[in-house]
Symmetry: C2
Subunit: 330 residues, 2 copies
């Protein structure tokens, strides 16, 4: 295993510590809980707090989206595991400026359970919490079972929009509804070309055979829509766009934001090769690419592969997307 690790049990603590050292102008560790990263700009009195959380190994998600006009506090889980209810509760407390808190997180069983428990814990302290559960991963369930779909890189747009809306002084309900609209407007798909290894395990917990691709793979190697022969980048890009836009069904002329993220070990130039074709294909379908993001925005350790997220925009979402931010992930 060719990796920079000490004791595998210490990876998350060391990651968080190194992260906060590197970005101490933007973030700090919660003094009560070393699995909570807090923005240096939080809490903001009279503003809605914005919280997320999830397993580690997806850096810069989730911690990297903490900062000014972004997420106020993040609950940090073990590698690929939900944070505890206590960590979610402490993140809610750390971001509470007296106007309520939204928790914007991904649709995974552990996160669902722990956010609900945290919500009960802080309710006793008088902190009102509303939630948005991201479910942008098209291949994780059919359109008829949207509520079963997992949250993936569309969460970055949800956080950006939610953070900007909260910074504007909007109410708790308004922030929640706008973040909900952001993720409702997102569709994502992942393509895996190679697996990843949890250092404590020492070998991949799933396999992708050489010459094959797992189309529709999840952020933890969850099986996708199908396994097929790996084809040229343009064919893969075409299929990604097709699956996302067939599900999205947007009227011609719709402006969209596009996010192409590497999964960890794909060379950055290949993300641009994919993006070149993706943007052509999106525009060929009559949509207008308003803004694009290409890079390692939401990874899965050293998985080889890439994800595509398309968010449909309206005037408000465009202006919230343009709000200036300061966070390590952007």
């Amino acid at each position: 295993m060719q990796r920079f690790v000490n004791n595998p049990d210490d990876i998350v603590d060391e990651t968080v510590r190194g992260f906060v050292r590197a970005h101490r102008d933007l973030v700090r560790i919660d003094p009560n809980n070393n699995r909570v990263v807090v923005s240096q700009f939080a809490p903001k009195q009279g503003r809605v707090g914005v919280v997320t959380g999830g397993g580690s190994g997806h850096e810069p998600a989730f911690i990297g989206y903490t900062g000014r006009n972004m997420v106020d506090a993040v609950a940090v889980g073990e590698l690929f595991s939900s944070p505890t209810a206590k960590s979610f509760a402490d993140a809610i407390r750390a971001s509470n400026g007296g106007a309520g808190v939204v928790v914007l997180y991904g649709n995974y069983a552990g996160d669902n359970m722990n956010v609900k428990m945290a919500q009960k814990m802080v309710a006793k302290e008088g902190i009102e919490v509303l939630t948005v559960v991201a479910n942008d991963d098209v291949c994780s369930a059919p359109a008829s079972e949207m509520e079963k779909r997992r949250g993936v890189a569309g969460e970055i747009f949800m956080w950006k929009i939610g953070g900007a809306k909260a910074a504007s002084g909007a109410s708790l309900q308004e922030v929640r509804d706008t973040a909900q609209r952001a993720i409702d407007n997102c569709r994502s798909i992942g393509v895996g070309l190679g697996p990843c290894t949890l250092p404590a395990v020492g070998h991949p917990n799933f396999q992708i055979e050489p010459g094959k691709m797992e189309f529709g793979i999840g952020h933890h190697g969850e099986p996708g829509a199908f396994v097929a022969d790996l084809r040229p980048a343009n064919d893969v890009a075409d299929e990604m766009v097709k699956v996302v836009l067939d599900d999205h069904n947007l009227p011609a002329g719709t402006e969209v934001a596009v996010l192409v993220s590497g999964l960890g070990a794909t060379p950055i130039n290949e993300l641009y090769v994919l993006h070149d074709r993706i943007e052509q294909q999106i525009e060929a379908r009559g949509l207008v690419v308003h803004k694009a993001y290409v890079g390692n925005y939401f990874t899965s350790l050293e998985m080889v592969g890439a994800t595509l997220t398309v968010m449909a925009l309206d005037e408000e979402l465009k202006s919230l997307l343009a709000v200036e931010t300061a966070c390590p992930g952007f």
Copy 2:
């Protein structure tokens, strides 16, 4: 080969095209040369132009550092190969605002030759060019042969400082001298845990055995100082800091900027694990970490590994480092 490629011969064209599509608010392709990327803010009349160039496969270097208060134009080479003299000349022309142009590039035979030829080509057109040749890679030659050392991730600091100085309205000689001071103040080291593959070749052109690390590796897999058993991350970090600072020999109390970059396929959380120890070790030696950068800033396709760069700061370098920039790489 688990990669997103079409015809391997088209990778660089597709990369540049996808890059410019994604970041068209910041960059454009030179209408005369599709291997030159130009800042949307260039040329700046009456200001010194800032140019760099190098082989592809190191994204976001080199093209990603084009933008406002950064590099004005970049000559783009094939994967791991120098750009042509014509591309360097066209980049110089595109960035020329009438006050001369600095070319800030890395010490490789092809780049040296092609920059010199470009300099002669544009001299006939009345464009004055001064150059800085980066040589921050400690293990590429002994201190007694500094002029043989290669340029690596310290170039990012050279571009940042040079770009900010040029934006301030400084003269050609002042911009050159300040960029030279920036790179003179940098020392870098790379550690490789796994090789990378040029898609046209189809197999790695060097090997790193499982359980081993290549300490002091170059950005194209050039052999390092030694091959050793891969040790825990903290031991690797300690050795990286030792080699860099023993060569640097900075007085206690010196403020430094630190850059920890992944080489392409190392999980981002492991860069933070390394950084956590690196920063501790740097401060244990009496230095002060003023600012840190951790991420995939200068890669080598999907090489597994990381680099450390330490730049000694003075008051002017600190203020130039703080100048606001807009470029895809930061």
